[in-house]
Amino acid sequence: MTANGWLQIALFFVVLLAVTKPLGVFMARVFAGEKTFLDPVLRPIERLLYRTTGIDEKYEMDWKEYAVSMLLFSAVSMLVLYLIERVQGLKWMPWNPQHFANVEAHLAFNTAASFTTNTNWQNYGGENTMSYFTQMAGLAYHNFVSAGVGLALAIAIIRGIARKESKTIGNFWVDVTRAMLWVLAPACLVIALIFVSQGTTQNLRPYDTAKLVNPQTISTTDSNGKTTTQTVTDQVIAQGPVASQEAIKILGTNGGGFVNANSAHPFENPNPLTNFMQIVMILSLGSGLTYTLGRMTGSQRHGWAVWAAMALLCLAGVTIIYAMEAHGNPLLHGIDQHASAMQPGGNMEGKEVRFGIANTALFATATTDASCGAVNGMHDSFTPLGGMIPMVNIMIGEVIFGGVGAGLYGIVVFIVLAVFIAGLMVGRTPEYLGKKIEAYDVKMAMLTVLIFCLIVLGLTAVSIVSPFGTGSISNPGPHGLSQILYAYTSMAGNNGSAFAGLNGNTPWYNVSGAFDMLFGRFFMVIPVLALAGNLARKKIVPESSGTFPVTTPLFTFLLISVILIVSALTFFPALSLGPILEHLLMHAGKVF
């Protein structure tokens, strides 16, 4: 570890703190329908959209109608994405200069589920599978939509906490429209252009062919043991409208790369500046939402108490990853892994020189604190414990700032549990910001926790004992279990990052993974909306001396403890057989 590495990590926290209030205030205004500086441009577009689609912006929904609208929209838009993938290769389809074929059915299903649920798990490489049209109108479009839906859901649950004796929690269509038009699109337009200025590509042209400066002779041995030698003289440079997709991929915590290597690719993430911007952007909206929570519920100090819990968990994560990766791999001999002014050192397998160790550790932390899943280095090649932390971040529900919207409604679940446990300890009815927390609320909160662990551990268990599951493992030993566990954790958590050596493009992983993602999104969201609807109905009870305050460091500490205990009890046994065992064996000098 270096002083300069820590300086960058410290700067990241400072910048994240600085953007929290402005973004939080802005979002609170947008969703309350108050005036913003963007109104002169966006109000006409919004009105036109409502008129053409038949939306009544004054109408309010109860939680069930809100949920149904969200499910219908997700189903329709997922179907459209599936169809686009299935016909992208037809002659009349636009913007397909490389003539990519239609996407196979099970891969198209997996991808449609993946992008609809904000997961962006990818069992394909974008630069050799998807046409520019599919990337723009199918995949990047869903980056806007799934983030917009997540934001709408977060606002709905904040309204549930803030409103009293109300049957309704807002209008889904208005919330999702305002999320996309006010919060996401304008920022992406500006950020995309900044990315282009730094080297991210943005064009619709066919791939270019360059003549290699030093032509290469490559020998390959086929399965019969026959060796063929060929001379490679050309390098085909993939192109495409990357920047416009990159901006929303990061800001919307989607994480689905335009190309296979994601944010490790120089065209997606050309230099340390774009990299730093991406890390901040991943957590910015989630961080801002804690301020929105405080503002809309009238308890700004509660918002900051939640923010503090998230920041502490984030710092713990990045510290462990940075320490592990900087320490390097003890199994590699004869090389210099010490950091200096001349080299990043450490475990450089799967990492880019321009980012080095500190920025890769920070990116890996941010992308899994949120349900983003973009990567600027390959998690599969991290050291065992360095790779375990991203997995743990997802297992605790991606509530460390979290995905756009998803982080906020995830943390509310843990807040309800924390308040409930505090109530049990002192023997009083638990309250949260004036709302009594009753059996129904705790049941809904527990339901989301249980559904998540059931699908993750269930599918991992099936895969690890089946040939169709273990056949996809690329790293033998305990790391193989880690690969499968990471995959289902990532998909159920709607993250999308991977231990990417696992071959996910098989019928089993495509189909089981698609259901993993769909359940992980919608079976979580429905109890959350039920909780929102139930909270909105309640009366406000005045605060008394027996009320457990949710604005103090004690609350922050309790919240962190509940998050860690719930996830540790659930996942520690599985982790001890995967990354923890691998760590011990690695230091004993064992290879597989």
Binding site: V196, G350, G501
Partner: protein, 190 residues
């Protein structure tokens, strides 16, 4: 239910046009006018032919060139198949591959330890850079092959070394393709 279903369909179509087509085309239009070089891949034309991109690494194996890092993208530095090796830390294949690279590199500069980045694959498989330490390690070999002094080679490396951005962001690095093109122009091989 029926009303919301109809809204879903129209809303999907309308927002697809707005965010899936108009938005990326607007970005493309503006980018092509203001930043045409970057927007088209930072390509390097030379004597009427394309020799690569400043941002995309190339493989080098001739001893007179500075070598890039090993690559797991296709058969090596293939931008149509960007990828890391995804080898786990305890995978024997990783240990063996690194050992083979060490065996190849160490004799060309026996007394200097090999920097980690020079024998590991990058995340993209297209890393255009090596660390300054990795460039320094290769100077004796390149200078000897080209018949130039180590001083001249070191000066060339310095011309293509970028420090940390704004002095503190990221890591110092040397762009291998730019460096080798410069060497070919300034000190052609015989």
């Amino acid at each position: 239910m029926k009303k919301n279903l109809l809204i879903s369909i129209w809303f999907t179509l309308a927002t697809t046009v707005l965010l899936g087509i108009i938005y990326p085309l607007v970005v493309t239009g503006i980018a092509q006018v203001i930043f045409p070089k970057q927007a088209n891949g930072s390509l390097i034309p030379q004597n009427g032919k394309l020799v690569g991109s400043h941002l995309i690494g190339q493989p080098f194996t001739a001893p007179g060139y500075f070598w890039s890092r090993p690559s797991a993208a296709g058969s090596g530095y293939d931008p149509t198949a960007s990828s890391g090796s995804n080898l786990g830390p305890t995978n024997k294949a990783l240990q063996d591959r690194v050992a083979a690279s060490v065996q190849q590199l160490q004799p060309t500069n026996p007394n200097t330890p090999i920097p980690a980045d020079l024998v590991t694959t990058s995340g993209s498989g297209l890393d255009p850079d090596i660390s300054p330490a990795s460039a320094e390690f290769q100077i004796p070999r390149v200078a000897k092959e080209r018949g130039i002094s180590e001083q001249e080679a070191r000066a060339a490396v310095a011309r293509h070394t970028k420090g940390r951005q704004f002095g503190f962001l990221g890591e110092a690095r040397v762009n291998v393709l730019d460096l080798n093109l410069d060497l070919d122009a300034a000190h052609p091989m015989h």
